[in-house]
Every structure is written in structure tokens, then in C-alpha cells.
């Protein structure tokens, strides 16, 4: 039992290392992404700062920064899906499933690969957040880290799940955009909860149950933007999201791999 667990972890870790290494190989792609994310931050932050009603959002740049933290995880963790998609098309997956490892370790390794990509990519933005916002205390750091782990597990699992739905590269790209749209525009990343409730009415809870909203809520609390936050609801919700998506990824990835 303990040996099994040890075996699974080493195998998953080795699989994840492969994905991590490849992530840093795409250095130009990475640089482009970072530039884009920072541009998002500045554009939204500086421009909306003067436009949005100050009684709704006092300081838009402090409001949007946690959203960008979440966006950075989405961007980086979701790349694991692209990798898996290319492998499926070129049948490199045949190689992966023939290796002397368990299918569980393979999926866990891929998800872990996405998580590590997400966390490492996010580090720079966390530093930026510390500079822009209130530096968190240790307990808040733990909360932030937990949120980052959960949201990156969710995003990498989701990307793996979605990519197995079709082998058509264009449809994969379309799905990715759709996910981005649903998760980011139907969330509290760009507008506050109050605005969501006012505009979306009965649909508002959908936006608030989104994993992105939950993570952003925790980030806002962690970096001192908001104080009144239901931590139990948001952490438990994120945990639920990550568990559900991991299970889904496991089921679909494996079903797709072995025909």
C-alpha cells in the first residue's frame, strides 16, 4: 500500500518533469504571454481606474491584480492540454500508455505537470501583486498557495478533459477560447459581485460558483483588497472543483488513450 503510493508518486513526478521541461523550452511563447498578461493588467488597471465608479471599485488596479493572478494560472496550466492534444494527434500517446507505469500515475503526472507550470509561471505575478497590493501575512500566504494549487489542478484537468473531446486542432482552440470566455467573463475578475448580481440577476450565482471567482475572492482577501469573505465556502468550493475535474480528466483521458 505505502509502496504503491510511493511508486505512483515517483512515476507521476517523472511524467510531470517531462512536461515542465518542455514548458521552459517554449521561451518565446512564454515571454509573449507574460507581456500580454502585464499589458492586460496595465490596460485594465490604468484605463478603467478613471472610468469605473469609485463607489463600486475604489481602485481598479488593486481590483484587477488578483484576477490577473488567476489568469496567469489559466494561461500556463491550460498549456498542458495543448501538449496532450498534439500527442493524441501524433499518437505519441501510444508510447505513453505502453510505458511500465500505471494509468493513474500517467494522468496524475500530466495534471501535476500542468500544476507546476501554473505555479511557476504565477510566481512573477505574485511578486507583482505584493508590490501593488498589501503584502500578505503567513496565514494568508498559505491560503493563497492553496487557492493557486486548487485552481491550477482544476485548469490543467479541464484542459486535458477538453482536448480529448476532439482531435481537430481548430476545434480545440475554439473550445479553449470558449472556456476562457465562460470562466473569466462569467466571474468576478472584471466586475465586482455587486455588479454581477445586478446585471445577471438569477444567473449571478453561476458566476460566483465558478472556480475562477472562488480563487479570485481568496486572492483579494489574501492581498488585503477585501476583508469580508466566506473562506470556507470558497476553499471548499475550489477543492470540490479540483476533485471533480481530476476525476473527469482521468476518465476521459484514459478512455481516449486505450481503444
Amino acid at each position: 500500500m505505502i509502496y504503491d503510493f510511493f511508486e505512483l508518486t515517483t512515476q507521476a513526478y517523472t511524467v510531470a518533469l517531462r512536461d515542465l521541461k518542455r514548458f521552459w523550452q517554449n521561451i518565446y511563447w512564454l515571454a509573449g504571454q507574460v507581456a500580454m498578461n502585464i499589458a492586460d493588467l496595465l490596460i485594465f488597471g490604468l484605463i478603467f481606474r478613471g472610468i469605473v465608479r469609485p463607489d463600486l471599485i475604489p481602485d481598479y488596479i488593486r481590483f484587477i491584480t488578483p484576477g490577473i493572478l488567476c489568469l496567469s494560472i489559466f494561461i500556463s496550466s491550460f498549456t498542458i492540454g495543448r501538449e496532450v492534444g498534439v500527442e493524441l494527434r501524433r499518437e505519441v500517446t501510444h508510447y505513453l500508455v505502453s510505458l511500465p507505469i500505471t494509468r493513474g500515475a500517467l494522468v496524475a503526472g500530466r495534471v501535476l505537470g500542468g500544476v507546476l507550470r501554473g505555479l511557476m509561471y504565477q510566481v512573477g505575478f505574485l511578486i507583482l501583486a505584493v508590490l501593488i497590493m498589501t503584502p500578505p501575512t503567513l496565514d494568508k500566504w498559505i491560503l493563497i498557495l492553496a487557492a493557486s494549487i486548487f485552481i491550477s489542478v482544476t485548469m490543467s484537468s479541464l484542459s486535458i478533459t477538453l482536448v480529448t473531446l476532439t482531435r481537430d486542432f481548430n476545434i480545440q482552440a475554439a473550445i479553449r477560447s470558449l472556456v476562457y470566455f465562460v470562466f473569466f467573463f462569467m466571474s468576478n475578475v472584471f466586475y465586482p459581485e455587486r455588479a454581477l448580481r445586478a446585471r445577471l440577476g438569477p444567473v449571478a450565482p453561476v458566476a460566483l460558483y465558478s472556480p475562477v471567482s472562488m480563487a479570485v475572492t481568496i486572492y483579494r482577501y489574501g492581498f488585503g483588497y477585501s476583508t469580508e469573505v466566506d473562506l470556507v465556502f470558497n476553499t471548499a468550493g475550489l477543492l470540490l472543483w479540483s476533485t471533480a475535474t481530476v476525476l473527469l480528466a482521468y476518465k476521459l483521458y484514459i478512455r481516449n488513450l486505450r481503444r
Binding site: 512515476q11 517523472t14 511524467v15 518533469l17 517531462r18 521541461k21 518542455r22 523550452q25 498534439v86 500527442e87 501524433r90 499518437e91 505519441v92 501510444h94 508510447y95 500508455v97 505502453s98 510505458l99 511500465p100 507505469i101 500505471t102 494509468r103 486505450r258 481503444r259
Partner: protein, 312 residues
Amino acid sequence: MRRKAVEIINFTKKFGDFTAVEDLNLDIYENEIFGLLGPNGSGKTTTLLTIATVYKPTSGDIYVYGHSVTREDYEVRKLVGIAFQEPKAMWIDKAIDLLTWHARIVGYPREEAKRVVREVMELLGLWEHRNKYFYQLSGGTRKKVELAKVLIQKPRIAILDEPTAQVDVLSKHALWDVIKKLRSEGTTVIIATNDMFEAERVCERIAIIYRGKLRALGTISELKDSVPKGDIIEIQVQEELRDREALRELEVFGRVSVNSDMITIYSDKAEEKVVDVIDALRKRGLQVKRIMVKEPSLDDVFTYLTGAKLRE
């Protein structure tokens, strides 16, 4: 009795409505070099991928040292290593990184992995290509990288899907030696090929499959003996034989198979019949360019079992 390494029982694999392999039964014994021989699309790769737990059988099962590929796939994978027909790798990986990762995932500790990768790469003449990206490697070199994976892994059962396709003649001989050495170190080797020369050089027992079905099984000499009429008359005619009547006339001498301008007749007492055969062809207005009487080769066995195109 030798121990069975792989037991294929009533194995059928369908892709949608198409049956790629049908009701295959086959035993592969421990520590032999077993050849799976068949023309393109006959189901070799499908069978090998199922042994390697990449595909699932549609019905029937395959056992690897008693472990079922459907129910105990992980146990099976611990025993099997495969070199794919189409090399499988991401193009942006360097040859050495690819193989080092492979060594790690099959269980070597870090330092040990580096050592074994270097050893195998040098053995296959890959060391000088170690820092090339996979997409920069030539076709034959990619095949060698694919084979290197199995040599690094040293599995109980090595599956090699056309290991020397795209490989130059000199390298071919070297690879055959490497494969034989792998066997002498205790590995059971299963090779898919459509290269008769390779099969004759390397394999001890051979299964011939055609259109998803097993057509013959045995050692090379057993297969040669299985051609019912021991002699072979090979006739090259001026132009392709399209005349079904002429074909039927030739069949009084034995089983006939036609491949463009080559007519092969499986017969006995061939020397006595040659004159009659030429006569029969002349009557049909067919000019004989060349005629030869010989013992069957593996090629002939293969043609005998799979090649009678006009009959089907």
C-alpha cells in the same frame, strides 16, 4: 515443454465495422525470436499494440506470463517494451533527453540512467546525434532511437515493429546482431516484418498472417515443407497473364500464383512437367522469357499463402 511468454487466445480486434485481426490463436515461447510476417495491413501492428496494452481486444484475450492484457494491463506493461513502427516522440525533444527520460520512467536512478543511455546510444551509433532535435533526425536514425528505448529498458519481452525498416543495409546487419544479443541476455523478442530476408536471418519461429488471419505457423524449415508440392516452377512471360483460361489450364500442374509477368507453379516432379508447361503457354500465345525450377524459399511460402491474387 518451453514456457509460454505470450498466449494469444481467440484474439479479435475491430475498428468500427472493420475487422483488423480475426480469431488469432498463437503461443510465443520464452526466449525465442518470434517473427510476425504479413503484407501491409495484415494486422501485425494491431496485434503488437494489443500485447503492449495500447489497444484493447474486441474479443478474446492475450496473456503475458499469465497476466491478461484486459484485466492486468499494468502487470503486463512491467514485462513488455515496444519499439513502434512509426517512431513516437515529440519533435522538439533532443534524442538524448528523450532517451534519458525513457530510462528514468522505466526505473533507472539518475546516474545509472545517464550511463545506460550513453552505452546504448554508442552501440547503435546514435551518440553523435545526441543533441539533435527529433525532427532533425533522418528516418533511419529515428528508428534506431525507437529501438534504443527497448534496449535501455531490457524488458522480459521486447516487441519490435519493423525495427529495420528505413535502415540502411550495413546498419541492418548490426541491428540484427544487437537483437540476437538481446535475446541471448534472456529477452523474448517478437518482431513484425515484411522483409523475408530479415525473417530468415533473425527469427526462429514465424507466424504468417494475412488479412487478419493466421495462415501458417512454424520454424522456417517447417514452413518451407508446408508448401504442399515441394518444387517450384517460376516462369517469366513476355507480358502479364490476364487470360483466365490459360490459368485454369496451368492448374493441372499444381497450385498457380501470378504476380504481373511472373507465374509460379507449386508442383512436384517439376523437371518432367516443364516441357508441358511451356507447351501449354505457347498454345495460348504466351512467350516464355525465362523458366526456372527451384526449392521453395520463405518468399515462396509467403507468396504461396498470400499471393494468389487471381484466385480471390
